[in-house]
């Protein structure tokens, strides 16, 4: 009886343990992979205040900026607002391959998630601050199509005048450019609040930090395998680094930059030309910080031949919500992105560029694992 009882207990325990293990999963990462994983957090963190924008973090400015963001008064047609392309229901992108405002543009609409953390803005980094970037589509004749004079009239619009005056003083006596920059600073103050939340990956990362193996093991095994590819063989983390999953710089990802209409998208090369001729950089009079903190980047950035056809590395938080992908929206799904890097033609890469990417040759299950990891970067 005693032996039978003991065997029964042992078998019951073994069955319970195996069922528990299957439900919980296993921790698949090596010690070195865990170390690398920790570098992609912590998250979320507070958006830093922008010292170049005197209304950054100001609740009145944030509310005013939000009203501007959703107002079609910011377009010549009175039919287009910032939210037309940066749709809150699409993680502040538009779900199209290329942006459509007043006319088709050859670039995919960048999502605004975590935009307040960037050093450079736009696919080509033609601006070095968020308020200058906010002016770009408003003043572009192919997008929202306003002039400085048009835009400045919003300061005395009955919907906006009280907030404008409270923040920036009486608009009378201010130049149209000054008023436009002030309005852009309110827009920037609002956009700084567009941040992503905690994700399943972050809970996994935090559990690893706390050496809580049980909680860490709850992170799906396919996402763990995908993370392992991301950190190692895929070399993704060289460009998609840190808590934001971007180094904020510009690279050749083997995506073509020839335009359908003829010509090329010069990418960073063109962006630097625009930057150095812009009157609205952090090294300008419009920077509210007397120390011009942050101006070092525009002063010291080094134009290089290899900049041609390179584009800014987007962050990957909420990436599953912002299809399609790449600067020209040419990849419809995350599985297409995995396939792109799996079959990338290195002969198409810059001859004088960096030597990082390799043709990954992922199997179908490996590609699915990589996608599972990327999907785990979506906030709850």
């Amino acid at each position: 009886m005693t032996l039978a009882w003991g065997i029964t207990v042992a078998l019951t325990w073994a069955l319970f343990a195996s069922v528990s293990a299957a439900q919980q999963g296993n921790l698949l990462l090596s010690e070195s992979e865990i170390e690398l994983t920790l570098l992609h957090g912590p998250w979320p963190v507070e958006t830093p205040r922008d010292s170049s924008n005197r209304v950054s973090g100001n609740p009145t400015a944030i509310e005013f900026g939000e009203a501007l963001f959703f107002s079609p008064e910011l377009s010549r047609s009175k039919a287009v607002s910032c939210a037309t392309c940066h749709d809150p229901d699409r993680a502040f992108s538009d779900g199209r391959p290329v942006a459509e405002g007043a006319r088709n543009l050859p670039r995919n609409t960048l999502a605004l998630a975590n935009v307040g953390f960037h050093r450079w803005f736009g696919w080509d980094g033609s601006t070095d601050n968020l308020w200058a970037q906010s002016l770009v589509p408003i003043l572009n004749s192919e997008e929202m199509g306003l002039t400085f004079d048009d835009l400045s009239r919003l300061a005395t619009h009955p919907d906006f005048s009280p907030a404008y005056t409270a923040l920036f003083g009486d608009a009378k006596g201010q130049t149209p450019v000054d008023i436009s920059v002030n309005l852009a600073k309110a827009l920037a103050a609002y956009q700084e609040t567009l941040t992503t939340g905690q994700t399943p990956f972050d809970r996994f990362r935090d559990a690893l930090q706390a050496e809580d193996s049980a909680t860490a093991a709850a992170y799906p095994e396919d996402a763990q395998r995908g993370l392992s590819i991301f950190l190692g063989r895929g070399k993704c983390t060289f460009c998609h680094s840190g808590p934001l999953f971007t180094n904020g710089e510009f690279h050749d990802a083997g995506v073509g930059y020839f335009l359908n209409e003829g010509g090329v998208d010069e990418g960073r090369h063109r962006g630097l030309k625009s930057l150095t001729s812009s009157p609205f950089t952090l090294d300008s009079q419009y920077n509210d910080d007397p120390e011009r903190t942050g101006a070092w980047a525009v002063r010291q950035v080094k134009p290089q031949h290899a900049d041609f056809g390179t584009f800014r590395v987007p962050g990957l938080r909420d990436v599953a919500k912002t299809a399609p992908y790449m600067h020209n929206g040419s990849l419809a799904h995350l599985s297409d992105v995995a396939d792109h890097y799996s079959t990338i033609d290195l002969e198409r890469m810059h001859a004088d560029g960096e030597s990082i990417l390799e043709t990954l040759g992922l199997s179908a299950p490996e590609a699915a694992d990589l996608v599972a990891f990327l999907e785990s970067l979506s906030s709850d």
Binding site: F238, C239, G248, E249, W296, A297, K302, G353, E354
Partner: protein, 132 residues
């Protein structure tokens, strides 16, 4: 530069008498060493260097003559690329050189190269840093 002034006085009074250059404690000596003319060392306050964040590198120089030009660059040997920014070089009151605005935009091993041009030629030094 205090170290340079000392070196030059000694050279004038006692030709052929080499001045002992002692690398400051905690600083990494730049390679290659050249005991006949220069000794240089590098200091970075935070190691490993944070990825994509600007940082300063201090360069201490003990030399027989002040360099006419100084350049500081960095490359990532494994990936065959350099930095996207040119550091700004200034000199502190104590003669220490400050290279500001270095940015290592990828994790891994970087090599910092310092080139000093004098009438005698160009002396080149390097040191390795890790970005994480």
């Amino acid at each position: 530069m205090r170290h340079l002034v000392l070196s030059m006085i000694v050279a004038t009074l006692a030709p052929g008498w080499a001045v002992a250059c002692v690398v400051p404690e905690g600083w990494a000596r730049l390679t290659p060493e050249d005991a006949d003319s220069h000794t240089a060392a590098l200091f970075v306050a935070m190691q490993p260097v944070p990825v994509s964040q600007p940082f300063d590198a201090l360069i201490w120089l003990c030399a027989d003559e002040a360099p006419k030009t100084i350049s500081v660059t960095a490359t990532m040997p494994a990936h065959q690329h350099g930095m996207n920014y040119r550091p700004a070089i200034t000199t502190r009151q104590d003669g220490t050189l400050v290279a500001s605005g270095l940015v290592f935009h990828m994790p891994g091993l970087w090599r910092v190269d310092v080139a000093l041009e004098t009438d005698a030629g160009t002396a080149r030094y390097s040191s390795e840093l890790i970005a994480r």
